[in-house]
Symmetry: C2
Subunit: 328 residues, 2 copies
């Protein structure tokens, strides 16, 4: 069964689609009320975020657009130190989409939301002309302890930069799918609750934290360096990249510094916390390849350098132009 | 200047686009922090909602997709009795979109958000292939007093149904634009804060309330009738429709019961509150044509009837199939 324009009418066809595909998968006491706004419990300090997902192909090794749409928003909330709580999702569905595809995506969203401890409380569905494409927007709300203060502007001289795992897996997966290159690279797409909770519960003072998505590590660290008016210096040999992705990059001329990831984060912590933080991340889900990759110095404000394997020093700029369209 | 795929990279081009187009218009102390999640103040009871907007044309008499994207989410929050507070927006922009168009839309969003007293706290921008189309998702958070209990399942025998103004203006506007029909019909697209605040401040006990958008009045009232297991009976001669929209409907064979509106609401209130509620709505912004259009009876559960001008009784069903694609 395929999506028709009637599924976007707001009437009975829309209602049937919602019941059959989404309500079944996402059901919970708040969503089931089917009012226009969901009513949820509040707290003193809220985190709010939103992300739209336009990745193509919509199903790829290691995930799909549904899984990605939950991970992306959950991770954005986590990066502010919030406990993810409630999520809304808006679907823009092209005519001709197979209802079965939609069901698979809804199932995948429900599974990931459960794993990430976030409740889907409201949704919206629109249908547009086209040929089977799907776009998903998710917006999330989380609660933050009053004591937490994580910000890209908090990096200080001497702080340590930890990366939670291998770079480039998601990017290489999507590009391989598009170019029909056969390999066993899988997207790293994952919710990082366990990792962040471990750091917060163990009172690691996180200065800055960001998931390394579109724009890549280079862009994130430049944002830190600019916001904190500091210099960040990395050691090339410390940066974890799998052998398979390394070869992939060599063949296609890609730079892991600018490749998108969907289950990796970079954290800046004080030097005294850094070894403990590294151990906590390594012992968390999805953190086994974490590494200390550099530190904050004050030599030149607002810049990122990497000390290369062959002894050079290379300036890492923010990504300009297009990494890979529709990577997330 | 046109949108290119590079504007969706997550790097410098994206950042420039955000700064030049969105940050300028939406600037406020929370958004300006430019973190991945916005941190806002909370409350005990939260309302959350989301809506995607795919209307075409993106600019139409009486509004544009930006204005609409704020009104839609603000009105959804209001309908639950919440005070709208914070809003996130996700843009999916087709390549080739004029940056000037985007600027105009951002300006319009900022203006409407200000009028509706809601703060834009987070955003996301994606670029896809295409030809100048724009899709906007907004998600909103509002706070609700613990005492408020508005729900489509609260309608009771004897309650009165009030419609806040003329039906069909938005629908007729979009259809006229698409068919290049010249007339002076304008979209009713508007935020209904003033109207709802007046009702709540004056302690009107609102049983059920809904903005009458996609799917039309017929669909909303059927949802009430089903959720409350009641029958709703309307008087055709009481239902406000402007002369121009009436003629438009006659020519094109449209039924105002299923036409989309973007600045109209229907409220179900107790009989003793109904005259006061009507007066309050009439004295509110956008409420001058409000009317009592019917009442709740218990003759047959879960149905909506209209007593027609010529003395008949017609069953009003939920809209099945397509009203008008991409109406909102």
């Amino acid at each position: 069964m395929k999506i028709t324009m009637a599924h976007g009418s707001g009437g009975k066809a829309t209602s049937e689609l919602i019941q059959e595909v989404f309500a079944k998968e996402f059901e919970n006491e708040i969503l089931n009320r089917m009012e226009d706004s969901a009513l949820v419990k509040g707290s003193q300090k809220l985190a709010m975020t939103t992300d739209s997902f336009v990745v193509t192909p919509i199903v790829f090794p290691g995930g799909d657009i549904g899984h990605l749409s939950i991970c992306g928003t959950v991770n954005d909330l986590l990066m502010s130190g919030a406990r993810p709580q409630y999520l809304t999702c808006g679907f823009i569905i092209e005519e001709g989409t197979e209802i079965d595809t939609l069901k698979q995506i809804a199932k995948s969203m429900a599974k990931t939301a459960k794993a990430a401890g976030i409740m889907i409380v409201a949704g919206d569905t629109k249908v547009i002309e086209g040929n089977g494409g799907i776009y998903i927007n998710t917006a999330g709300v989380g609660f933050v302890d009053e004591t937490i203060d994580i910000s890209s502007s908090n990096c200080e001289n001497g702080d340590i930069v930890i990366l939670s795992g291998n770079l480039g897996d998601h990017h290489a997966t999507i590009l391989s799918s598009r170019l029909s290159i056969e390999n066993t690279i899988k997207s790293d797409c994952a919710p990082l609750n366990d990792m962040v909770e471990n750091l917060l519960e163990n009172k690691i003072r996180i200065k800055a934290m960001r998931d390394v998505t579109r724009g890549g590590l280079g862009t994130v660290l430049n944002e830190f360096a600019t916001a904190s008016s500091c210099t960040i210096e990395l050691q090339e040999e410390k940066i974890p990249v799998s052998d398979q992705v390394k070869s992939f990059c060599k063949i296609l001329g890609l730079d892991p510094f600018y490749m998108a990831n969907e289950g990796k984060m970079v954290a800046v912590v004080s030097k005294e916390d850094s070894e403990k933080a590294l151990e906590l991340i390594r012992n968390s889900k999805y953190g086994e390849n974490a590494a200390i990759i550099g530190s904050v110095t004050q030599e030149e404000a607002g810049m990122v350098f990497v000390n290369t394997l062959i002894g050079g020093k290379r300036k890492i700029d923010i990504l300009y132009g297009e990494g890979l369209p529709r990577i997330c």
